[in-house]
């Protein structure tokens, strides 16, 4: 643990503005050091790792515990019981040293899955004996990188380098079949909580609760319709009056129902009274009647051989297990459930009386974030159940046989199914389709391929949250920025367009809770003097002045002293007696104290303030600086605590120390942490117009730069790298925290803000040619080409053929990049049409069934004697070339060739091709302020304007980019950057902080430059001074991945679609450029009929047809098969698509008859 964060230690050393260890500490300025301390403990993607670790270490055991017995229907004496489950280590193994067969990078390269075995200990019967078997492997679990089951866990930088891993890589993703997959954080409405809503149009007030247990998911509603209140549930066929339900749940007395629902509030009583009539009209008075009433309305889905239940039993079952399924009923004690339903009803009544008392679905406190661990746990439970069912079915089949040769050993049969677990997990993660049988849930797009376009793209992906709302619905609520998201979710980082506001990103200091035990909290509540509702009289529950105590949405106790209770509870939590992530808050309107310990709540740390004094003092920060304290020490000593969104409502949080008043309860650690990792790159974002920051968040992910320390060892489908990446001159604290300065993506370009040449209109940029010559914006693209040498069932296999030679003994053009082994030589140039891997596929009677592929396959006998032909001649079957051919507008160079064996013993060849590109006309660049532009012209250095010092700009930007965009931050970046360059320091543009602009200007003046950053320039062409002063200095510019070379496209003639014979569409298929309907309209309006004819038919799909003027149908070869004559057949040209339409109509029994007339 100590050695792993060398980088972070280094970061902790220099304090604010280079303070040394002896410098005095100022709490107001230095408390930001808690942020790196937090990130050191938590890491940037700790949510994912925590969640996965919790799943593997805790949840997995719970799942197995819940499904521990497998018994046979046939043989009652047989049983198999799971005792324990472990991932990655055996019972006698070291849990710190997980068993992973291959390191993650090898899995990436070899298209394998990075996984560890799942071991179980089982106890089962063999004959009469009970046998305990340990370390039985039931499948393999994909391992999240950097989790505690990963071999990278707790490694030092040197060890990481040895494993070919980048120490800055955040981890938190999986490697499945060689691709890196992220399980995105899913945002949902909280489970097991009452949500009250109104529908104005239908006049409905309803309280709903989504019950979620391991077994099932169901939703229970309490609805008020026309003043009457009903209970609605999916498995009950009609709405049941609420009094009936409460009676069924054992609250028989009307008086008690009134007490439970309305308390002593007469307004509520008046509203509710009507419901008693409904029940009495139905003749339901006793619990039995009520249960039977419900039982008759239950939709029963019984398994085939389950016994039929009576109506009463059905009713009992429904109330006990179906309605509000998350509450378990022990020994027919419905008390808790009755109170719960009564509470729901009470909330409905309250909302009926005062429509403002409804819940907000978009409120962040009503949201839960589902992480990789929870999703995997759902999936694993499903697979584990299936595994056990399959095993049981198999078992029964064998046990049913009357005579068995040997004694039955269950172990021999359990392993057959282990592949199901492995495959199920792999398939779900690699396709992203989460299908759970027991919840009948089908969710697509849960996982995504980790974007490795740039370091920040990968990082941004790890903090992404996707919402479950459909994108098509036109509601603005879920998309808009909620005030409750402050500090939890980044306000700037969201995509534009369809998923705007639905995809969000976590802020820098956000933590997501995992489930924690309820029992200790319950005990603490009673210890603090709250009265158990099991013992409490119904009268006191909603009495005036008494507060209900709700644990995870369920009322467990009441207290008359909520203030003292909450205060003491917090004391317990701060002293470490309770889990730090348990939240407590009072809701005065509901007269409730809510405790939450469930997983998926968003929370963040804050400094505790006591009687107007921050608990964190200079002394503590000194301890932090000296490395004697970590973030956990602050937490343990009650100086800092986590608050979730709900508890934040109980707090009065001061932004700065100077704002602390008598009532203040907390102090922000640092305001810049409201932004996420991606928005944190922007210098002076608080001076920008807000959409600009959002645009930069999208573009920062497209910037080309350094990706990881192991970037040259990676073989990715497509990789963009910058040759000379520079770290920004104007940094932010976030940049240092996420270590963007170590893997930067951009250049510090000297920019002159002026208009020049007219080729800079509409945001175009002008580049200095000498800068490009010297390496500005120079980048590389690396593209992977894969060939798989397959094995066929008839024992033939693909081989790699040698190169073919021409008459003079030199390789033919197509094979000039190949070596003697038929693979492209590393370092050689490949041009379009040349072969990279000369793969040969067996043909003939023994082949894989006819020739497959092989576009430009030629006769193999033509190959020269120099080719590697021994293997091919010795093989009995003949081969046909099916080579991997390079296609591209410019040549590439072979960077790496990898030969390995993949998953199923098939040889895998990966060839990495490299192109080095210098910026050209049309390449896209962007600053860090959402100001993108393409290169409009490349200008010679001597034509560029120059300053007194002889400095030429690298780039000229048009000043018209500023007034409408209002990116003041960009100007400040320029001034700060210029001052920093002159002074020899990095300046800071941290959000709500950063280097002071007037100070920067003073530096400029002291170095002999203008106060405002505007210099006098001379024209490069005339040599005269320019009449205006030019804003001139360094701005960090990113090169974006959109490059002309990847987009350029033209076609004269080319491929056509088979069906319509029209030119194909799109660049990838060498398609034509479409003359669309609007262009067509123009031509029609203009009257250019011949041009229309040429564009729409002759250049597209002209087709000569024979048309019979007798019947009006089409014939062929001058013959009309309908009229059996050739008399009236004429030739004409029509679009093939029209001919196709006619034939399709004919096939539908519609005869389109053409009547032709002369035009001229």
């Amino acid at each position: 643990m100590t050695s792993k964060n060398e980088a972070m230690d280094e970061l902790l050393k220099p304090m604010y503005k280079g303070k040394a260890l002896t410098d005095p500490i100022n709490t107001a300025k230095d408390k930001w050091n808690l942020v790196p301390a937090f990130l050191k403990v938590k890491g940037l993607v700790k949510q994912h790792l925590d969640s996965y670790n919790y799943f593997v270490d805790v949840d997995l055991k719970k799942i197995v515990k819940a499904n521990e017995m497998v018994v046979s229907d046939v043989d009652p004496s047989f049983y198999l019981k799971y005792l324990d489950i472990r991932v990655g280590y055996k019972s006698n193994g070291d849990r710190e040293k997980p068993e992973v067969v291959l390191p993650p990078h090898e899995c990436r390269l070899r298209d394998l899955t990075y996984s560890a075995p799942i071991y179980v200990d089982v106890e089962y019967t063999r004959g009469r004996k009970i046998i305990i078997h340990r370390d039985l492997e039931i499948g393999r679990m994909p391992i999240m990188l950097r989790s505690n089951k990963c071999i990278l866990h707790g490694r030092s930088e040197a060890e990481m380098a040895y494993l070919n891993e980048c120490p800055l890589d955040p981890g938190g993703y999986f490697v499945v079949n060689g691709t890196e997959k992220v399980i995105l954080v899913q945002e949902q409405l909280s489970k097991n909580r009452i949500i009250v809503e109104t529908d104005r149009k239908k006049g409905i007030v309803q309280a709903s609760v989504t019950s979620s247990t391991h077994e099932r998911k169901s939703k229970t509603y309490v609805v008020a319709k026309k003043g009457r209140i009903y209970l609605k549930h999916n498995s009950i066929s009609e709405e049941v009056p609420i009094v009936v339900v409460l009676k069924a749940a054992g609250v028989v007395s009307d008086m008690e129902i009134m007490q439970l629902v309305c308390g002593d509030d007469s307004a509520y009583q008046d509203l509710f009274a009507e419901n008693f009539e409904a029940a009495s009209r139905l003749g339901v008075f006793t619990q039995r009647q009520a249960l039977e009433f419900i039982g008759r309305r239950v939709k029963t889905v019984r398994r085939m051989n389950a016994p039929r239940l009576s109506v009463l039993q059905e009713g009992l079952e429904a109330v006990a297990t179906t309605i509000c399924a998350h509450l378990t009923v022990a020994r027919r004690d419905f008390r808790q459930k009755a109170v719960y339903i009564a509470t729901m009803t009470r909330r409905v009544v309250m909302a009926m009386q005062n429509p403002k008392l409804v819940d907000d679905r978009d409120y962040a406190g009503n949201k839960r974030l589902e992480l990789a661990g929870q999703l995997l746990s759902l999936l694993f439970e499903d697979l584990f159940k299936k595994f056990n069912n399959d095993f049981k079915a198999n078992l029964d089949k064998i046990l049913r046989r009357p005579s068995r040769a040997s004694e039955f050993d269950a172990l021999l049969h359990i392993n057959i199914h282990s592949n199901n677990v492995t495959m199920g997990l792999n398939r779900a993660i690699s396709t992203g389709n989460w299908s759970l049988k027991r919840f009948k849930m089908e969710r697509a797009g849960v996982t995504h391929v980790l974007s490795r376009l740039s370091y920040i793209a990968a990082l941004g992906m790890m903090t992404r949250i996707s919402s479950q709302f459909e994108k098509s619905r036109k509601v603005s609520g879920p998309r808009s920025l909620q005030p409750s998201q402050f500090g939890m979710l980044c306000p700037a980082d969201t995509p534009e367009g369809a998923s705007c506001g639905l995809v969000k990103n976590l802020a820098l200091m956000t933590h997501i809770t995992t489930d924690s035990e309820e029992e200790p909290i319950r005990r603490a509540c009673f210890m603090l003097g709250a009265q158990d509702i099991g013992q409490a009289d119904s009268r006191v529950l909603h009495a005036r002045g008494s507060f209900g105590i709700y644990l995870n949405g369920t009322m467990i106790a009441v207290t008359r002293y909520p203030g003292a209770f909450v205060r003491r509870f917090r004391l317990l939590r701060r002293s470490g007696r309770l889990d730090a992530f348990v939240s407590i808050h009072t809701d005065l309107q509901q007269a409730a104290v809510h405790l939450a310990s469930d997983g998926g709540r968003i929370c963040r740390p804050l400094i505790i303030v006591d009687r107007g004094v921050s608990r964190v003092t200079a002394r503590h920060l000194a301890l932090l600086r000296d490395g004697r304290w970590g973030f956990d020490d602050f937490l343990r000593r009650g100086l800092v605590e986590y608050l979730d969104v709900n508890e934040e409502n109980d707090a009065l949080i001061a932004l700065y120390e100077r704002d602390i008043g008598q009532l203040t309860t907390h102090l922000e650690i640092e305001p810049f942490t409201v932004l996420g990792a991606v928005a944190g790159l922007i210098p002076y974002p608080h001076h920008n117009q807000s959409p600009r920051n959002t645009y930069q968040c999208a573009m920062g992910k497209q910037a080309i730069g350094a990706i990881a320390y192991n970037q040259f060892r990676r073989i990715d489908t497509l990789l963009y790298l910058l040759c000379y990446p520079e770290q920004p001159l104007v940094r932010t604290r976030t940049i240092e925290l996420v270590k963007y300065n170590r893997l930067p993506a951009g250049h510090n370009a000297t920019v002159a803000v002026m208009s020049y040449s007219g080729y800079d209109i509409e945001d175009a940029l002008l580049l200095n040619r000498a800068s490009i010559d010297r390496g500005f914006g120079r980048c590389q693209t690396l593209r992977k080409n894969t060939a798989l040498l397959k094995r066929y069932p008839n024992h033939t296999k693909d081989i790699v053929g040698g190169m073919r030679l021409d008459g003079s003994g030199r390789p033919i053009y197509q094979h000039s990049a190949l070596g003697g082994d038929g693979l492209a030589e590393v370092g050689s140039m490949v041009q379009s049409g040349q072969v990279i891997v000369n793969k040969c596929v067996p043909t003939g009677p023994t082949g894989p069934g006819g020739p497959s592929g092989g576009g430009n396959s030629t006769n193999p006998s033509g190959r020269g004697p120099g080719g590697q032909s021994r293997e091919r001649e010795s093989a009995t079957s003949s081969f046909q070339e099916s080579p991997l051919v390079y296609r591209g507008p410019v040549p590439s160079y072979v960077d790496q060739v990898m030969l390995t064996v993949g998953d199923n013993d098939q040889a895998l060849i990966k060839v990495l091709l490299r192109q080095t590109r210098r910026p050209e006309l049309g390449d896209k660049f962007s600053s860090r302020h959402g100001q993108k532009g393409v290169c409009g012209m490349i200008i010679k250095q001597e034509d560029m304007p120059f300053s007194d010092q002889g400095i030429c700009p690298d780039m000229i930007m048009n000043p018209h980019g500023f007034p409408s965009r209002m990116t003041v931050g960009k100007m400040m970046e320029l001034v700060s950057g210029k001052a920093g360059v002159l002074r020899g320091t990095f300046e800071y543009g941290t959000c709500f902080g950063g280097s002071d602009l007037s100070e920067m200007s003073k530096i400029l003046v002291s170095k002999g430059f203008n106060y405002g950053g505007k210099d006098m320039l001379y024209s490069g062409t005339t040599g005269e001074a320019l009449q205006a002063y030019i804003f001139f200095g360094p701005i960090y510019y990113q090169k974006l991945k959109h490059m002309v070379l990847d987009k350029m496209h033209a076609r004269a003639r080319g491929p056509r679609a088979v069906l319509t014979r029209q030119p194909t569409e799109g660049r990838a298929r060498d398609g034509g450029l479409r003359l669309g309907e609007m262009e067509r309209d123009c031509l029609i309006a203009y009257g250019a009929s011949q041009l229309l004819l040429e564009r729409l038919m002759l250049s597209s799909d002209a087709f000569d047809v024979d048309i019979c003027q007798g019947c009006g149908l089409m014939g062929y070869n001058g013959w009309c098969p309908m009229c059996k004559s050739s008399q009236n057949v004429v030739k004409m040209t029509i679009p093939y698509a029209a001919k196709l339409l006619f034939q399709e109509l004919i096939s539908m029994n519609i005869a389109p008859r053409l009547q032709l007339g002369d035009v001229f």
């Binding site: 010297r774 390496g775 120079r778 590389q780 006098m1016 005339t1022 005269e1024 001074a1025 320019l1026």
Partner: protein
């Protein structure tokens, strides 16, 4: 507004005035119809401030902006110099890619007198293209090994490995043919021997041969013989009203040190306007409003030529003059130019 024909550029707080050059025939009646060589000879001055091995700083006074700018432009882009243009890789197992290494090599300034080489004929046959007259061959053969005598506990790569860093000085000159004679006294070396080219680790090696040819900056920036060549105009500070006392000190602070002096009377005076960087700070202060006028002299060019090291800076300037002269000669000899 300065009067017509004034050669002072006005530096206002928000703009630059009177920027146009006027020292050419028929600009105004005052100057006369034709350009007069004798008048120019009388007017023109060349003052040298300093010349070192790498930099030259000199003043050209009394010539038109277009001519001064032509010198600047030619120095940047048309004075020929020698740089690596073709790199033949035999082996490169380092982390740096062939193209990037070649690009870095090209940018290394070489100490070669460009007059000793002739131009490569781009249309010549590949085999006859490079001769001992137009090409210099350099080679780079480095392989990295572990240092057996490494000091324990010192984990710096320079200590642990041999040849962990490849520098420009590792480029070896391979004289071809007559070059053994011509380059005997001054072999081809990089101007700056310690330019880092690549980093190696044990087992990695670089083996290549590079052909250096003559080129100009217009082809590629690596052929430009100057790091920068530019000029600035001589600043002019005109104190209209006396500035004394505390204000004088404040006034002094508005300029770089040494520009403004304060005499015995406590009055500010212009000590050395040449040192001014024209930051226009003084124009921001309201109290000096109208008391001072800033300007620059349009035909006083303070040239600064920084050589990359291949040639002496003054030589670069002389060559630019020669190139300009050749251009003029060419134009004069052009058929069109001769039409009477």
């Amino acid at each position: 507004m300065p009067k017509l024909g004034s050669n002072i550029i006005g530096i206002e707080s928000d703009r630059v005035t009177n920027t146009h050059s006027n020292d050419f025939p028929a600009y105004s009646k005052d100057i006369g119809e034709a350009w007069d060589l004798e008048a120019f000879k009388k007017k023109f001055q060349l003052n040298i401030s300093y010349i070192t091995e790498r930099t030259a700083n000199f003043d050209l006074i009394g010539l038109d902006t277009s001519i001064a700018n032509a010198f600047r432009r030619i120095m940047i882009s048309e004075v020929p110099s020698v740089a690596i243009e073709f790199v033949y890789m035999f082996n490169n197992t380092s982390v740096i890619q062939d193209e990037v290494l070649a690009h870095r090599l090209g940018l290394v300034p070489l100490k070669v007198d460009p007059d000793l080489l002739s131009w490569v004929d781009p249309n010549a046959e590949e085999k006859e293209k490079f001769t001992d007259e137009n090409t210099i061959v350099l080679s780079l053969n480095v392989s990295c090994t572990r240092n057996p005598n490494a000091v324990k506990g010192d984990n710096r790569p320079e200590n642990l490995y041999k040849n962990s860093n490849v520098y420009a000085k590792d480029l070896k000159f391979e004289p071809q043919g007559r070059q053994v004679e011509t380059f005997k006294d001054h072999p081809v070396v990089p101007c700056d021997p310690n330019i880092l080219l690549a980093k190696l680790r044990p087992g990695q090696e670089i083996s290549l041969r590079a052909h250096c040819v003559l080129g100009i900056g217009a082809d590629h920036a690596k052929f430009s013989p100057v790091a920068t060549a530019s000029y600035r105009l001589l600043p002019l500070i005109d104190i209209k009203e006396p500035i004394t006392g505390k204000d004088a000190l404040e006034f002094q602070d508005c300029f770089p040190s040494g520009v403004i002096g304060i005499n015995d009377k406590g009055e500010a005076y212009v000590k050395d306007a040449r040192k001014d960087t024209v930051s226009r700070e003084v124009l921001r202060h309201e109290k000096f409003n109208g008391k001072v006028k800033l300007g620059r002299i349009r035909d006083h060019f303070i040239f600064n030529v920084e050589s990359t090291g291949a040639m002496l800076p003054e030589e670069i300037f002389f060559k630019s003059v020669r190139v300009l002269k050749n251009k003029a000669d060419y134009l004069r000899n052009c058929p069109i130019g001769n039409v009477e």
